[in-house]
Symmetry: C2
């Protein structure tokens, strides 16, 4: 059974809550080489990597309309209904993020506003591996479609038989993805960065991936492509008081633990009994899980902490800045204002993290690795640029002209000053 | 006199509008070395670099309260008044960007919303050099203050006598900057990334700078610090129809040209006479400018294009994605909806770029180098994270539980499914 840390002193939090440090140095060279290859040899390089890494010999990188049609038949009605409800909720929540343009008259005759414009071409990366993450397709393609992105390109590695999981294809076709390509790993990111004969170059790349994909996305930014978020292993921090349900807490902790052996799981309770019961529940529930071996390894590096109060627990959480924060406490809304660093927050006993992962409507692409301190999760904002516009009338320039002249001169920029002086002069002369 | 390009074919635009490619490869090693030094030796390294690069032997890196008091006396009342008006306008425009939290009920009993939280510690970098950019202090510190950032740290290189330009200190003290340090270049960015004995480590770094600073900011992201925007040389694209004023157009183009020899200046007119008169005006006005040598070099690599219509001119502009776009055309508002890629837009004959640089209220930290395709300029959003929150009632989980179960199972994540199943079961059992 896991050790319980009782009332840890503040100066121990840093060590206690340390995340695993990801080794990056060696990856950079490997990924740089893949970038060079793809830049030089295009599709040929992608097919070569597919043979090497995916053990597939691909004729076409692009998924055909027939393949999508076939996938649509493969997906069960039950799953289609589930995807439909999730899509509706995700759509509602992200659609509400549309910004209405509001004109601000900062000085009489000086009117300024913002307008959103879609990022024209976006690339969505969906990893392969054990879990076919069609939910991530929804989380990325739905806001891209709401934003009005012209081209939504999806890359995902092929399975060994050369196909893509039907649920991924179905979700993509449902949410306005323009083109789907069978390519994974750092080479997919390289293709979206430079473009190849088949795959268009994009303006921004989204989506999770392993350490190679992560490094590739970082490298893509050096070639003027934007990315959604720096990535890291997934995390949950659960805060529980005496009103919490240990069965639910254990299930939530385990649903994070099953993600991967590098997942981070932290439990902070204000009640020792709840803590012990949750630990006992974990021991029980873990046995039933297909992915129990992964979960067990994760749990070994997890932390179980006893705190004095919910406030102190939140203080610890703010220090850690978790991707997901569950408040299994009485009157959870009262504490939201105290949360300063978290990706997404789940309130009360009936709001499991899994709800946000799939269907509540919030986005599941969230800041991990402490990035909740300085990054937002993916939202509609991630798929648009906000352009400012200003219109100044003759009266307006008369009102702020002097200010601009004085400031420009003080910065030694006389052409800036002159652009205003000439206008003021023309107005005084009545031209 | 500059060549005029008449009605260039679309397939020539790419070459025509090519930006200078910045050489990065060698800088990375130099900056990496500075990062290592600062990480290891802290303030000692900063002082050593100050001696080497700024020719100053500093006792204290921090600006003292006495220095700020002295600077306040140094700044003229005229400049103080100008700064006050600019501050008010910038404040109004950015304050209006505060997002009101709106609850969305995506399914009955499933309520989701977003809340903004300030990024706790931000670092503002203000370059030294020929122009003391106190206007950039306003553009960064005002939204940081509105956002509620707890620590606003400013770094700027000392002048040769060891002091900072009084206008910079005055603007900083006016806008809630917590601490000011005399340190510039890549070493300042390193200090903000790792922290030193004097300088706090921050969560996000803002501000312009030379190629070393730009490379340093890029490198900072590899150490989990966020940055405002990737940087590049400043740009303006002016579109003029027959209603434009050649004197004003020339002045606006020159105000961009005086920034630096790498500035980009593009003029597109639909009227040949306006084009020629603007060129003649440039020849005349440039002679009067203190920074005329810089402006002349910039103008050599500028482009003067004759287009068929304002629509075509905007198409060219969208392709280029300028930082600043001036529409010196009749009824400019009619064309705003056609603009897809631009940092900030200036409408009509009385809205010079200089207004946005200083005092209209919009932010002057904007996407250059084509980044208007995939990045927004700095706004209040740049200083906050948006956290999502969800609260699901018993009724709500009964409504979306099945969807989550089906999707989790289809992704092979049974612990995720279980987190919902256990809750549904407890409700069915009436626990």
């Amino acid at each position: 059974m896991k050790n319980i840390l009782k009332y840890p002193a503040k100066n121990t939090w840093e060590i206690l809550l340390q995340r695993p440090v990801l080794e990056k140095a060696n990856l950079r060279n490997t990924v740089q080489e893949i970038f060079s290859e793809v830049r030089n040899a295009g599709d040929f390089a992608l097919k070569k990597y597919s043979e090497k890494f995916d053990q597939v010999n691909l004729k076409n990188l692009a998924v055909s309309p027939e393949e999508i049609e076939f996938a649509t038949k493969e997906v069960s009605d039950e799953l289609k209904n589930a995807i439909a409800q999730a899509k509706e909720n995700i759509f509602k929540f992200h659609f509400a993020q549309k910004e209405k343009s509001v004109e601000i008259e900062t000085t009489e005759g000086v009117v300024c506003w913002r307008e959103s414009r879609p990022i024209e071409k976006v690339g969505l990366y969906i990893p392969g591996g054990t879990a076919p993450l069609f939910s991530t397709v929804l989380m990325l393609a739905i806001p891209a479609q709401i934003a009005g992105c012209k081209e939504i390109i999806l890359c995902t590695p092929p399975q060994k038989n050369g196909t893509i999981n039907p649920a991924i294809l179905y979700a993509a076709s449902l949410c306005g993805v323009s083109k789907i390509f069978k390519v994974g790993g750092a080479q997919a990111i390289a293709a979206l960065t430079f473009g190849t004969e088949s795959i268009p170059k994009v303006d921004k790349i989204f989506g999770p991936g392993n350490q190679y994909v992560t490094q590739a996305k970082q490298l893509a930014t050096e070639y003027n492509v934007a990315i959604d978020l720096p990535a890291g292993p997934s995390e949950v921090l659960v805060i529980a008081d005496e009103s919490a349900n240990p069965t639910f807490c254990a299930a939530d902790l385990l649903s994070q633990a099953e993600h991967g052996t590098d997942s981070q799981v932290i439990f902070i309770a204000t009640d020792e009994q709840i803590l012990e019961e949750t630990l006992a529940e974990i021991e029980k529930q873990v046995l039933e899980l297909p992915r129990r071996e992964i979960a067990k390894i994760t749990l070994n590096s997890s932390q179980f902490i006893l705190a004095k109060s919910v406030e102190q627990a939140i203080e610890i959480s703010n220090f850690y800045a978790p991707e997901h924060l569950i408040l299994a406490v009485d009157n959870p809304r009262n504490y939201v204002c105290k949360i300063t660093n978290a990706g997404s927050v789940f309130l009360g006993n009936y709001t499991p993290e899994a709800a946000g992962d799939y269907a509540s409507g919030t986005n599941h692409t969230l800041p991990t690795n402490g990035f909740a301190k300085n990054y937002s999760g993916v939202s509609l904002d991630s798929f648009v640029k906000k352009m400012t516009v200003q219109e100044i009338s003759k009266k307006g320039i008369l009102k702020i002209g002097k200010t601009i002249e004085v400031m420009a001169e003080a910065e030694g920029l006389f052409a800036h000053k002159n652009a205003v002086s000439l206008r003021l002069k023309s107005l005084q002369n009545g031209i």
